[in-house]
Amino acid sequence: IQKMWRGYYVRKYIHNYYALKKYLAAISVNNEIVRNELQEYTEMKENEEKRKDLEKKEMERKYQARKMHYLLSTEQIAGIYNSPFRKSPDPMELLLRKSKPLSHTRQEKSSFASELYGWPTCRKPPTFSTAQPLPPIVRQKPQGPFRDTAEVLRQRYKPLEPTFHVAAAINSPLKKEFRREEWRNCIHDNEFLPFSSYHKNEKYDPSIHRSGKYGQEAYGIKHFREVQPKKWVADK
């Protein structure tokens, strides 16, 4: 009987063949799911990359068209994109017709994702702050009664110039003379209390109406109403 029982126990709990088979099947199913999801994820990423590339190229083309707007063909002279031997104008020609010419005062914003952190490798020459920051060249003055920018920056970034009293540590030996003189100049040793503590230790003066001949009267302070405990109902 023990042999049978041991066989049954091992087959059910320790080395369950069918459970193992089910587990391996479940793993394959799970793997399929994981693979599909990862595949979708990669496809999504690739699509995003392509889209970004396309958009970037579009922006580049539009910018170029705006910059080279003068290449547009006129009535008399055909532009380079509008050759008379062609049946229809080049797509670039159509783009040129659609775009607005670039204005002279337009700020250059063509740094697509330029590396802002040239600092870590210190390859680009850094811009150091000089004592006098130069005012910006092409900039509309902000409307209003504002102070000069250079002045404001100078005031804001003025370095701290601590006095000797503040700069030296409180127990430094350099301040010995200092401390002696301060101690000498003190008039009294009463601690300076904040104003809220001025009234803390005052005694309360009771009014004359309340204070009886032999101290305080019980009525009005200890009890207010006449009570007759014998007539109370609730206690019983």
Partner: protein
Amino acid sequence: NSGVMSLLRPLLLDVVPTIRQTAALALGRLANYNDDLAEAVVKGDILPQLVCSLSEQNRFYKKAAAFVLRAVGKHSPQLAQAIVQCGALETLVICLEDFDPGVKEAASWALGYIARHNSELSQAVVDAGAVPLLVLCIQEPEIALKRIAASTLSDISKHSPELAQTVVDAGAVAHLAQMILNPDAKLKRQVLSALSQIAKHSVDLAELVVEAEIFPVVLTCLKDSDEYVKKNGATLIREIAKHTPELSQLIVNAGGVAAVIDCIGSCRGTVRLPGIMMLGYIAAHSENLSMAVIVSKGIPPLCACLIEEHEDHIKAAAAWALGQVGRHTPEHARAIAVANVLPTLLAMYMDTHSSEDLQMKASIFTKKALKSILQKCTYLPALEPLLHDAPPNIMKHIVGQFSKVLPHDSKARRLFVTTGGLKKIQEIKAEPGSLLQEYIDTINNCYPEEVVR
């Protein structure tokens, strides 16, 4: 060579701040180029001055000075030790609290380069109190700062379990785990590297990393377009899998095996190595896990690695992994034999064996793998072709397997004779009394006398 160090040194104390900054920048670039120049910077007694004047408020000077320290510290442990001795660590840690992110980045970069060399320097960096500040730096919005802080934490925690524990105690794991989802590729590289350096030391640390809920997010990193993100992701999973069977089980249940197998299939070169080792570790723990690897179609990519790769250590790793998969039971060995891996392994063994370089890892691992698989293989059709080319030490195992199976299986006996296997056996010369001779005798005894002649 022209005495530039002694000229630059007084410029560091100049009144005009621009001159100070430019002098520091020049020193940094000089030290960055060459380690002799870096030694000259140290010998010229410039570091103490730099460290004292670092507490100035000007952020450009702080960046330049941190750049100098980084450039000096990156070349060798002795130079880094010199930096530590002149008390630069405290000032660098103070720079980590600065408002400007560029200063923080330069300071943490310098600390990272110092901590990279060995565990004493790492310990010095940790003792200066850098780790909590680095964890704060990781949470900053600037990507470059995050990258550098993650790389520094990775460098600190790679040396010993105590250092890794310090990093974990500062609460870094949760933040690093969140940053796996960031789209920036370089940041992901550093974060995955940091997590794998933490997880590699002990089971508890690996469990901590797993509890930060990195699965199944880490599997998406295995599909990234950047090669090193894939490599570091596979490294992280490998470091987790190698500790205990339970962790490997977790990875298998999360579908990690499938993802890693796909990753191995899509990469080339050293990027595949951590993935291969991971499969080997998982298969080594138990036969159920090894069967799981087989079921997830793991053997064909491993075989492909054996054939395609040329580097010794990758081939050795692939051979080892295959050995781990096949060594458990005849079922496993059969799966490997069916996939036609044994001839490849044998060919590789002969190849490396004959090139006289027996110390090469590939030959050692291939031999072990072959032995362990062959000792369990009962799938005779796959063993047949091996009879013809095998060297004597492998032949022993093959013939041994035949001698175990043939006495019991009549169909196999017939097949053996018809395919010319019996003839080949007769051609083998073995010393009488050796194991090989015993096997041959057992096989010969299965057949009647006239067939043997």
